[in-house]
Subunit: 346 residues, 2 copies
């Protein structure tokens, strides 16, 4: 064996130790949540321990909105819907006088959405169906690469939580397979989750509409239909997990009561389990909302989470950094780049 090869192999041999010696979660303060995460991962990966979990069973599931990326002042997919309504308006002159489209086109999103969830569904169907899956993927890709958040002016994919990116990488480095389990649209997430989170499309579970296989110009296509297929929220999350993964996760991460059943299902299994809820309590660096919020309401989780052994993360106290663009810095300078427009109407 050549000396250079021995040297190369020595480096390869030493690399894992070098990695684990550095802090895998640098954006987490050294508070209870970080310690609980590290203790859990060390517990399930220690070979020979009674709590050791074999590689194929190391399944971790993550909510997306409010857990991996922000969700204020409304779900980012709702901004996509509004932008699509505007883009499609020239082909739909009837929308000028037809609600909820008319209000959206006038810029009065609050009035448009006042009708409740079925209104959002109607807007979603008008913008998410009627094209092939390939066409929709392109529409989402073009939008996500260009659209800016109304109050920060950042790309939506910049408004991901740095501590959660580190957590995803840390779990994967320890043999976990990471899945998204989101109420958001399945095909709205897939075009960018691999690039942004390192999560490939086959590990994304979400809400979906029905589709149809057909031929167009002699080529097979899958066409998106304006009919609901599956809502991946609340009870739907464990159902979606069973349908898609077929194995109960050992760790679940969420932030709202829509994630309650996912955490409940995950942590009710035998052996070591981990449940975590991100609590949005940082009005300065992000948003503060919980029990009364229309978006990402967290009420039952705050009441029952602790007694169920779930870890509650205070974004204010437990996270050094929120967004990657804020850098890792003191609280004051961390506000840099994050400006909110109070009372922006949405």
């Amino acid at each position: 064996m050549k000396p250079s090869l021995i040297a190369a192999l020595s480096l390869w041999w030493l690399a894992p130790a070098a990695i684990s010696a550095s802090d895998p979660l640098p954006s987490w303060n050294d508070t209870l949540p970080k310690r609980a995460i590290v203790a859990f991962v060390e517990r399930v990966t220690r070979e020979g321990s009674p709590d050791f979990v074999p590689l194929p069973e190391r399944i971790a599931v993550f909510d997306n909105d409010g857990c991996l990326w922000a969700e204020q002042p409304m779900y980012f997919q709702a901004f996509f819907i509004i932008d699509r309504i505007k883009a499609l308006a020239p082909q739909h002159p009837e929308w000028e006088t037809k609600e909820p489209f008319a209000s959206v086109l006038k810029g009065d999103v609050k009035s448009a959405l006042a009708g409740g969830e079925h209104v959002l569904l109607e807007l979603a169907m008008a913008t998410h169906a009627g094209m092939t899956t390939a066409e929709f993927e392109q529409i989402v890709t073009d939008w996500i690469n260009a659209a800016k958040h109304p109050t920060t002016g950042r790309l939506y994919t910049e408004m991901v939580y740095q501590p959660m990116l580190e957590l995803l990488a840390y779990l994967r480095a320890n043999g976990f397979k990471t899945f998204i389990v989101s109420g958001g649209g399945l095909e709205f997430m897939r075009p960018w989750t691999e690039r942004v989170y390192g999560i490939p499309p086959e590990q994304v579970i979400g809400s979906s509409i029905q589709t149809k296989y057909e031929a167009r110009d002699g080529q097979p296509v899958i066409v998106r239909l304006p009919e609901l297929n599956f809502i991946d929220d609340k009870d739907g999350k464990p159902i979606g997990i069973q349908q898609h993964i077929g194995r109960r996760p050992i760790a679940a991460f969420g932030n709202s009561d829509g994630d309650f059943q996912m955490l409940e299902w995950t942590t009710a299994g035998h052996g070591p389990r981990f449940g975590l809820l991100v609590h949005h309590d940082d009005a300065a660096r992000e948003w503060a909302y919980d029990r009364e919020s229309h978006i990402g309401r967290l009420d039952r989780g705050l009441d029952e989470g602790p007694e169920r052994g779930w870890t509650i993360v205070s974004m204010k106290d437990d996270w050094k950094t929120i967004f990657p663009f804020q850098g890792r810095s003191s609280t004051d300078s961390a506000h840099r780049g994050f400006k909110k427009t109070p009372g922006s109407g949405i």
Copy 2:
């Protein structure tokens, strides 16, 4: 570095070369299908080549019945259904006089199934629903570990195709992620696909019934309901692939016209693509059936497959061995252990 460590690393270093030097597909004859498979894999894995396919896009999909394991004299899941009807009969005295149950209980499966697909569906609902997912997993596990095929006397999991096991391993050794895409029941396959095929539950796509999340004795459970959710056959295969994987496979393997759309969807994509149909033409070592068969009918695939560039495998000419228990041997001795009972009534 200790000499023993150097020796160990040398072995580790040499292992990949040693593996690739040996034949990864020893049960395949050196005929066109094997050459086409190897040429395709080398083409997509050669770095720097214009046909190189990055790791995450190396998705291969496999039908199960008649492609990975046998499907005669009827789908193996149908034997499971019949055994469950018999096991559940004491709790259902009304079945003694109610069709199709009465015929099944009298052992006259042919009459029971004469009513067509909706009869099989009725029998499936009576046996696949009404319990939790955990209970159903246990029922399937107990059955698959004990039930024997009526004509070979072998466990059903022994009736898998040795050449396909080698193909699965060969593709995975070359960075492919292998998925099952079967018309069979999702939760009927998952309890044993990892052990038998090396395919984890999250890479199994199949037909499914609806489920409900609820609490029982204070514990969350997922209950199986007697309502169809999804039929993963024909047009359903590309739809199931898009729903579950969200990325078009680059290779698809099937054996019947139920796989036609899966191969069509896969091979219509850009770049290098591979489609393969297993043709059951070996009456001596397995079964011979195609255009007129009620099970695994292969008609359109034989007509259009070749002009679409799909590889047709003759089990008789292209496979040295069919089942692992037959060993790798001459055609005559390969019949060992495979006895059919002609006219067995099913």
